[in-house]
Symmetry: C2
Subunit: 313 residues, 2 copies
């Protein structure tokens, strides 16, 4: 616990996987004097009250933002503009306003025009998550050793940016700063394209003639199950990502299609050498990711196995 909290009042607008994880982490570490939250649905607000993690659950975004030193929008990208407009008149002079959206260019465009000049707007994207969503899905350790990307617009107060960076570092994240445009290109390949491909292949497997759904599920350990995890992510969030990062996603999709054509041609022609070379090169990337601690070194993501000779539970 810190002697003096980093922020007197933190407002979290939205309490899903990310909002709920920030709340749990900030509470555990004493990063805020007070954490106030709200959520769009009465059901979620009721559940957050039951959970008893935050200091206050209020009915409106305006009420949450009122007097807060740090306001973080933890909501789908498509909703950020409206919420910025709604909270703008209630923001405290000198407050930091941030978000956690997976697309940054569109968020900056939607939010910036509404925010008064006397507040500090520092958009953020913690590159972390699980396939779960909702108020119960968050956990304090979610951001540990993950990257949080900040995309402060030109001219943003450096002290405010550093203060938000310190908050994320305290939650366990590494912080990197880049432009919204570069963020959207990088994330198009490391996150948006993989989700799109996963969503596609899962539906392909769902609608096949000649292979039953039961077979798809039973034999999914051959590789398919890995894709189903990210294809179980929050539909609203991902709809908004693809609507708002359209250009970068379509560009990456074009690259992917070219590469897929090359591999398809090698298969059709029976070009074993080309396939072998390709499959050898991709191994190195995995090693790199494990080496920098961005994934499990244990095989199979460290999935657990039961003991031999015991009946399955």
């Amino acid at each position: 616990m810190n002697a003096a909290p980093m922020f007197r009042k933190v407002a979290l607008i939205g309490f899903g996987l990310i909002g709920g994880s920030i709340a749990r982490g900030a509470k555990a570490l004493g990063l805020a004097g007070e954490i106030v939250t709200t959520a769009r649905s009465a059901e979620t607000r009721a559940r957050v009250r039951e959970l008893g993690i935050v200091d206050g659950v209020v009915e409106s975004n305006a009420e949450a933002a009122d007097g807060a030193d740090l306001v973080i929008l933890c909501i789908p990208v498509g909703a950020c503009g409206d919420v910025a407009q709604e909270i703008a008149p209630h923001l405290k002079h000198g407050a930091i306003v941030s978000d956690v959206g997976s697309v940054k260019g569109a968020v900056v465009k939607a939010m910036a025009p509404h925010l008064p000049e006397d507040i500090h707007f520092v958009p953020a994207h913690p590159v972390a998550g699980t396939e779960n969503s909702g108020p119960d899905s968050g956990f304090a350790e979610l951001f540990i050793n993950r990257w949080c990307i900040l995309t402060p617009p030109e001219g943003t107060n450096a002290e405010a940016t550093e203060k938000l960076a310190a908050f994320w570092r305290a939650l366990g994240a590494n912080v990197e700063i880049m432009t919204p445009e570069h963020h959207d290109l990088v994330l198009a390949v490391t996150s948006h394209l993989p989700h799109l491909i996963a969503y596609t292949i899962v539906s392909t497997a769902e609608e096949l003639e000649g292979v039953t759904q039961s077979e798809v599920l039973k034999f999914s350990a051959g590789g398919f199950r890995d894709f189903t995890r990210i294809a179980a992510s929050d539909p609203t969030m991902w709809r908004d990502v693809f609507l708002t990062n359209k250009d970068a996603v379509l560009e990456m999709l074009g690259e992917f299609q070219e590469d897929l054509s090359k591999l398809t041609r090698a298969i059709r022609r029976g070009d074993g050498d080309a396939l072998f070379d390709h499959f050898t090169r991709t191994r190195a990337i995995r090693r790199g990711i494990v080496q920098i601690g961005q994934d499990e070194a244990a095989p199979d993501f460290g999935r657990r196995h039961k003991q031999l000779g015991k009946a399955p539970e």
Copy 2:
């Protein structure tokens, strides 16, 4: 430990992830009176001797198969025909010959013509694995609660099939029987297509202009890292899979391309409802896989997280 082993002598030809896991499991459970193995390279044979798991490491496939009651080829699909020819003259009357290949039609075609009529040929495919390979990568628990598919040709002795099924069940697997053709279609979607897509996207990310390799690695927790695991699988094994299950893979690829075109069109047109509907449907598949115990119920495959407030290791 069983009082009487299921097989007096088991020969494992090849000692990679699958061969090594069978050896470890069978040894732990006492399923074989004696386990003899061999491997193509002298280096692997030396390592298997060092490991001290099996009862004998011999120099040739013929020597391994000699007098064995069960011979399992644990080698890439493309090598099975030649090895069948090599061991055929040395097989014991009434022996069971099997394999563990990920493609069954091509294996049956390549092996069956070489095998004498007095042996029982029961091809098998344990749908289990990790991204690791080599003699050190196996473990006894690999097959627990996974499926092992047997594809006995018409007219195969039912007792021999059941004996091999019992062996796999003892190792923890569930056994299903189907035709080689149906196996190859089912696995094309649950395993081969996912691997092809993963191999593709990993190379796409490797060769981008405008995004550095370091950025791809750092921000891989956004989804990309999930794909790198299966794209780190054994290149020889996967080359052979795509060469020998070409037709079914190309068919599935065609279906995938159609579905990807649909999603791409929805993105291009900004059709949020189509995206949302699609992303909602795919969630159900994940739930089904978790419900039947084919993947972790824990979020994020149960990947571990460090404790908050401690410096990363």
